[in-house]
């Protein structure tokens, strides 16, 4: 179990062991969607807002 700081509210976010780059995690404190941008050491950034599209 590792942890990283939420870039939105500064709270500590607990991370499960097998996190992968690109994974989206919810901050338990402020609820922000966070993207795992590095795993060793783990680093989080605010996940981009992406509208879901209806395909090619």
């Amino acid at each position: 179990m590792s942890e990283a700081d939420c870039p939105e509210c500064g709270a500590t976010v607990e991370l499960h062991d097998d996190i992968e780059v690109g994974e989206i995690i919810d901050c338990g404190t402020c609820g922000a969607e966070l993207e795992v941008i590095a795993v060793d050491p783990p680093e989080l950034d605010t996940a981009p807002e992406l509208e879901e599209d209806w395909g090619e």
Binding site: E20, G22, E23, I24, E35, A47, P48, L50, E51, E52, D53, W54, G55, E56
Partner: protein, 309 residues
């Protein structure tokens, strides 16, 4: 695989209609003809493999001969699939959190996409039109920045139940149409034959990216104030997708439009979405009709199929 064959698969993929609002940044102006005549027509046809274009080609040739301005927009993703297979490139399919499955367009796939769409299909179709007496000029969305807008390189995907951001996608959302380029070609008597890719605007560069052909046609129709004819391989939009007897002939009020949207399933959802975008963009009417009937374009313009306005 015909468009019809893929209906079931498409239906399974398209659970959730997404954001429908498209705001075109460019000034939208309707083409005003000196003779006060009819607006131009944008015709969306499939690629060579999806829907046989021959009937549409002859019909469009007759329309052009009669003085109507026409812009053709074509798709052809089955031909892209064929060429990917021929080149031993395995397409990557991704599922969005909403349950929509789509092909992920990585750099290599994008290259094939551009080759097939702008090189093979556009050249074939332009040649078909020239043989039918139409002075056709093939263009991709890159040419003159014809179809442009922000690139989307990141997509949200569901990977084994885990939500992830996947980067490196080559797709985009059309927000601008260079209607001046089309106007100028139309004024000179040419018939533009337009294909994706579009021109995607990234942080510090532009690049060719994937876009949906139906939406491209809708964007062009909106920008030109043109009637849009979307040809497909069924007679129009059915209230019951499995029963041709339930063809919806027209939708002219918001309420009627809503019932068309509710009726649309599978790949028809995309047509209805495109129709909505075209109307919101400034198109006076959208017709969804059968590509394989006689005179498919003029029939659709004359009320066969489903008319949305």
């Amino acid at each position: 695989m015909t468009e019809h064959d893929s209906q079931t698969r498409a239906r399974r993929r398209q659970h959730q209609p997404a954001d429908q609002s498209v705001v075109f940044a460019n000034a939208r102006r309707r083409r005003l003809r000196a003779d006060g005549g009819q607006p131009p027509v944008v015709v969306k046809i499939g690629g060579a493999n999806a829907v046989d274009p021959e009937g549409a080609v002859d019909d469009i040739a007759a329309l052009v001969e009669s003085g109507r301005e026409v812009v053709v927009v074509h798709g052809g993703s089955t031909a892209v699939d064929d060429t990917l297979e021929r080149m031993d490139i395995e397409p990557t399919y991704v599922e969005t959190p909403g349950g929509v499955t789509g092909r992920f367009t990585d750099a290599e796939t994008m290259e094939v996409f551009a080759m097939v769409m702008a090189g093979k299909l556009n050249t074939e179709l332009t040649t078909l039109f020239r043989n039918a007496g139409v002075d056709a000029v093939g263009l991709s969305g890159v040419d003159g920045g014809l179809l442009s807008g922000p690139r989307k390189s990141a997509v949200r995907v569901l990977d084994d139940g885990t939500k992830k951001i996947k980067r490196g996608d080559h797709s985009g959302k059309i927000t601008d149409v260079n209607s001046d380029l089309l106007d100028s070609l139309l004024d000179d008597g040419y018939t533009p034959v337009v294909s994706v890719p579009m021109l995607g605007e990234d942080d510090d560069e532009v690049l060719a990216v994937n876009a949906d052909a139906d939406r491209s046609a809708a964007a062009v129709a909106g920008a030109l104030g043109a009637e849009l004819v979307v040809l497909t391989d069924v007679a129009g939009i059915y209230a019951d997708p499995d029963d041709p007897e339930t063809l919806i002939e027209s939708a002219a009020t918001p309420k009627e439009l809503k019932s068309v949207k509710d009726a649309a399933e599978g790949f028809m959802t995309k047509k209805v979405m495109a129709a909505t975008e075209a109307l919101e963009g400034g198109a006076p009417a959208v017709h969804v009709g059968d590509a394989n009937r006689d005179a498919p374009v003029s029939s659709a313009l004359n009320g066969a199929g489903t008319k949305i306005e």
